[in-house]
Symmetry: D2
Subunit: 434 residues, 4 copies
């Protein structure tokens, strides 16, 4: 089975596991993490390209640590870890779970080795499956609930594995390829259209029916003035116009922090664009290739998205505007299971309607990542999962070409800092309507 | 006339100047800036205590520069500045107005001297008053409008002069006094009460009737779930309980960025608190004195306000919640004109109702400083006044003991970064209601 | 009496005070510190332009603090300081004398005011003179010895006052003048000549006859291979050739740390040179003026001096080579008493012989600042005066146009870090001889 | 053949290769680099633990790059590199050889993989051996001369490989072992003795007879006052006394830069010491073990060596004093070929005479790393090998337990920065004699 085939059968089930369905779902998602590294050498698992990124090996071990500390130790007081040092090495940021290895130094952890990490994964998986067999009734409901969080957590790290290896490879003058070169597909997304939404009181957020993180709750009412949303993502061609118009040289287009950011070296275009022989190339997980005009512009910071929107006479949507517009759309698009690992051009418009709302690229919103009215963090150690990051970050919506389709939904809130751009992030415009 | 007397007659008029009233208002506000420095030595005008603060002399010159560049040069094409270098030295952050002296180095500007800055002020004032006499009709309306912005700008810097000189003096082991020692007034604010607001669609923001900054507009509708607001500010006594309960040592109370901030030296209490002989003292503009339990806790960062609220089982209000509750209250309280320059204990509660909503201390809200729906920046160079800072900051409401009473209003949005605490900032709690 | 006249009568006596001569010498040197600030405004005393520099006021107070803590408190156990806080504020780096105000924050000390610092000086001076009257015999010898260190210490700070105010003014776009514009004097120093010294065993360092710092002792023998020393300082014209030959762009000319230093902004010429309209100007204590080719190039770091020497096919002398050559020369030249505060062109050569060895500019040597064989630090707190800085610094020799003539001698060792260049520092070349 | 056996046969031949002997010497030294990594996993080759250290893989590739760029490309104009990107990736600091990958980011180079680096080594080795067969006469002499530099260069990196992997492993809470646990050997080095040297004119430096780096030349005369040198290295027991006497807490013992350094976390003992259960353990290449009192204290910075010497009432020797004393001793001791990779206790003294002068630990001297009188850098690109680092560093002498015996000699000058302590560095005391 080739990598592409393997990826094509990647997990895409219901978002919440029943007691019956959890085992195959667990197995599939855990296996998928390892499939994502199948074509890499052991050396590739070790390196950390910047403090924000982590080594692949660390992702594989940390997601396992999560299951061990959050699930196994809770249900089995006698549980004995395969190595007590792992509790220290693979804690990310949970103060309630003790001290930890310094984040910017994750790249020094050459041990445990890759095979040892695989052994760790196997051992924890065996314990989890054994536990599922043995727990009773009510406990089982809670176990499945926690495992579901663990699996969603693993899916988040699967996405980070892809963005982190992309960043890592981009710093290497050998320009390594994670996958085969990307084919250029003929596409003609057409001119940008606008979809209007009327003013009114709407509800956003997740109700309790299906899995959602605590930060998506509670469902609550909001008032929206009328607005319009662009019917597709901004393309490379459109962004290139901004670059060639001197967009990075005009202070009036930028937020203050944006302007000081683009004074730094390396900020005259999106993260992975480079000038070569008078044209532009883009580094992708399939290697470096010429910029494809009709594809959506990606690896954009909030600061750039905001400046582009201003240049374009528009603005970014709020997360509320985004969610209200997305609420009734099916969760379909270019996800990780395509094996493309790169955004695709929007399909030609077949009339009014939003394209690319899910998959392809996370879409920056103008909304600060804040608690919803009535927000209650998960009880226990998982209180640290989301709530404590609700400062200085902005919400992105919709998932990307590195996201699992069954991981995302209309109410899903991703969040990053304004200058971050190593994620698969892009731009959807909005505007006021009168 | 003593300083206290002079301050008591400080400006407190209508918020918008008519063509007739502008002259006395202009004169009074400009004079007030100089009165605020009346008891200081020339040395005190020079120093910059940190990059966020500015020397007093710089404030006096920059507010003058603002009038020169934004008003005089616009109306009088032949206007000749008293010194062309000032255009460079006293530009704060206006890219449209050219290069400028580096912000963190404002403290090296020993020249122009204090008398030269006074001369600069006099010269610009004379030109402004001459201009007011000479412009005609429609032009005059626009001139008064711009002058009104210039005067509000000056009032903002008057507040900064007080907070900057306080910070400066606090770093000096001689503990200089800006004013006489503060009397301790008997007060008993009583237990914290709560004022409830019902869910519904409300309007916030400024309509066009009176002066407001662009960031307060347009007035627009919002939906609010029901909530309750504390009826007064959090006191020193209440905050001390938090400190003594180990509040600064419990990671579960803090945002991630808060926790990393309080690992730094100097973050075990509010900015100006110090332990002395087993007790606590507080540095004030009247020198160091014992902590007064019934006064509101001040010089609090957002990070601390948020942690305290969590510890107290409450939360911070959003700016929307604050404004809706404040909308019908008179703008009354402990403002700069009291000459106290320090928050006062809340008056004893006379029944249900909000106390201390205006004056005393700016109140941190949980709302990111973002554009309102339909926000339009001021045209021209003043577009840089507010809009470009709408990132990474949080909104504070209500004004402080360093604010001019005729400068603030229910819709007024102040904004600072989460760790900032050299402003007169405090805490009002909120909570959900069911 | 004009400033120039006052300066002309500045101290120039014996280097060691007898018990009789100490009083007029003390009075003259102390007065000279204040004369150096006579034309400045109070604002100019406050600012600190960088962590390496100090405010003028701080220099005036610290030299007084030195007398108080090192002399007065030692001889008079009942001595009561005028303000106990000064012990903390004006300690520079003496761990044995307690905690101190943070060095980079000296610019926040607006208090004590300039008049208060003058009062502090007067008070300490009165105590010193009283003490001189009252101590007996043997004690008096030790008192004069310590006062002599205190006076030499003050002379070092007099030089720093000039270099620090020059640096401060250079950062101000108003380009303030410390003194009248410098006249350009006709001069023709002629081509560079070389003075040879034969190989042999020489003695360097100070013997006990006259005042010297501990770092100049003991006198000891060294072996020197034959060498030649340039007969004057490198001129602006010669250095300009280096600049225009792309000297700052050729890595092969630079030490590793030099090359990384000149990649930073502001390192394409000596510190105070600036390009204006195709030519070069230089900022001086007399304001900005056109570069004078025949004057010696000044405000040069060791890194630049070393690169220039390599470009010129020469090298820098060691401090041993310098001292052996200087040992028999009279200590004459362009010192602070000239009131010029700027290096002068070398006099036309009147035949073989070294010019400009004393005064004009400190001359970088290739010698690390290390202890001499048998070095013994001063006993007591003064052990911290020199010894603890013997790491990472290089020795400069000969004094400058900001040095007092009676402060310097052939054995005198000044020391700064390789990138430092705000001192009056220049280049004398050396080469091997075969 | 076990690792220990392999190491026992490690290269120990003449220091300069004849035309005949170069081939086996080349083969042995090149093979030794790979043997040093024989027990490591591929992951261990990738990580960079700090900017000063490099990944093992990088060392293996860079030493190969050196042969390619400095030797092969010079003799064979048609030489085609196996991968042109390597010229960029594996250049360390040679400006004359073009741009290079940023030093602090060497740990991101997961590609080329370990097998690819081995292939690179094999390919270059084959080309070198082919070249040796084909060049004629005079060219051959120059070829052997450059190869000799290349081999000495490789030996330097072999030492770095050991110190870098030790540092890397030390940061990992798993405390990996590079070799078997170290046996504790009974030893009793006895009390410290002193060996005296009389004053006089001596010659130091290398004459042209055998291989030496440019920085060891020319041989030249120096004058030395009489002095005494400790007859062995300072032991752990002696250093522990210093620690327990509060040595790290007494400012009077430290250089200024030393005192500010030991205010930082992690500076209360030598680099690899840690307190455990009231005692001290030390991290070694054989894992963590209890501190062995009679072994020499290692991983000491210059700053600590200097403070210890002051505490002990002694001082560090100059490099001249060291070399004069070492000149007639045989180059014998505990070198890398012992396979111990750790310093050994000094043998019991058998009468007056210096012990441990070679091997065990590099010995800090008080001498700045400066050019000798008459220093001439190697011509061509190798001018960058030594000369440009002659600033801010101090000389160490004698080699260590990680040095090849045939690499070091009495005139050999190693150099590091004052705070560096990840090398095998220790302390030999000196004192004045009268």
């Amino acid at each position: 089975m080739t990598q592409a085939e393997r990826l094509r059968v990647a997990p895409h089930q219901e978002q919440v596991s029943s007691i019956r369905s959890i085992v195959p779902r667990y197995t599939a998602i855990r296996r998928f993490s390892e499939e994502l590294c199948a074509n890499l050498g052991d050396e590739d698992f070790v390196a950390q390209s910047m403090p924000d990124a982590s080594p692949l090996k660390w992702h594989l071990a940390h997601t396992t640590w999560f299951l061990e500390r959050v699930v196994l130790e809770r249900f089995d007081p006698e549980y004995e870890p395969i190595d007590p040092t792992y509790a220290y090495l693979f804690n990310s940021y949970y103060n309630a779970l003790g001290d930890r290895h310094a984040r910017p130094l994750r790249g020094v952890l050459t041990r445990p080795t890759v095979p040892q990490v695989r052994e760790y994964r196997d051992s924890v998986d065996a314990s989890v499956l054994r536990l599922l067999d043995s727990v009773q009734d009510m406990q089982r409901v809670e176990l499945v609930r926690l495992l579901e969080i663990g699996l969603n957590h693993e899916q988040q790290h699967q996405e980070l594995m892809l963005t982190d290896v992309k960043h890592l490879f981009s710093l290497n003058a050998m320009l390594p390829r994670y996958r085969q070169p990307l084919p250029v597909e003929p596409a003609a997304p057409g001119a940008l259209g606008w979809v209007e939404v009327q003013e009114g009181v709407y509800s956003i957020g997740s109700d309790s029916g299906s899995f959602a993180f605590d930060n998506e709750k509670p469902r609550h009412r909001v008032f929206l003035e009328s607005y319009a949303l662009a019917d597709r993502l901004v393309t490379n061609a459109e962004y290139l116009e901004f670059v060639e118009d001197g967009g990075y040289l005009k202070p009036e287009l930028w937020l203050e922090v944006g302007w000081s950011t683009v004074q730094q070296p390396g900020w005259e275009s999106p993260l992975y664009w480079h000038r070569r022989d008078g044209g532009w190339v883009e580094f992708t997980l399939g290697g470096e290739r010429e910029l494809v005009p009709c594809e959506p512009v990606s690896h954009i910071s909030y600061l750039e998205a905001d400046a582009f929107a201003r240049w374009a006479g528009a603005r970014l949507p709020t997360e509320i505007e985004w969610e209200v517009a997305a609420a009734r759309l099916p969760v379909e698009g270019n996800f990780v299971s395509s094996g493309r690992f790169h955004p695709s051009a929007a399909p030609r418009s077949g009339g009014p309607g939003l394209r690319q709302m899910f998959g392809d690229l996370w879409e920056w919103t103008a909304s600060a990542y804040s608690p919803y009215p009535g927000f209650q963090p998960e009880p226990g150690v998982l209180a640290e999962y989301n709530g404590k990051f609700m400062c200085d970050q902005l919400v992105l919506r919709g998932g990307s070409c590195a996201t699992s389709q069954d991981h995302v939904r209309a109410s899903y809130r991703n969040f990053f800092y304004p200058p971050d751009r190593w994620q698969f992030s892009g731009i959807r415009l909005a505007k006021n309507r009168r």
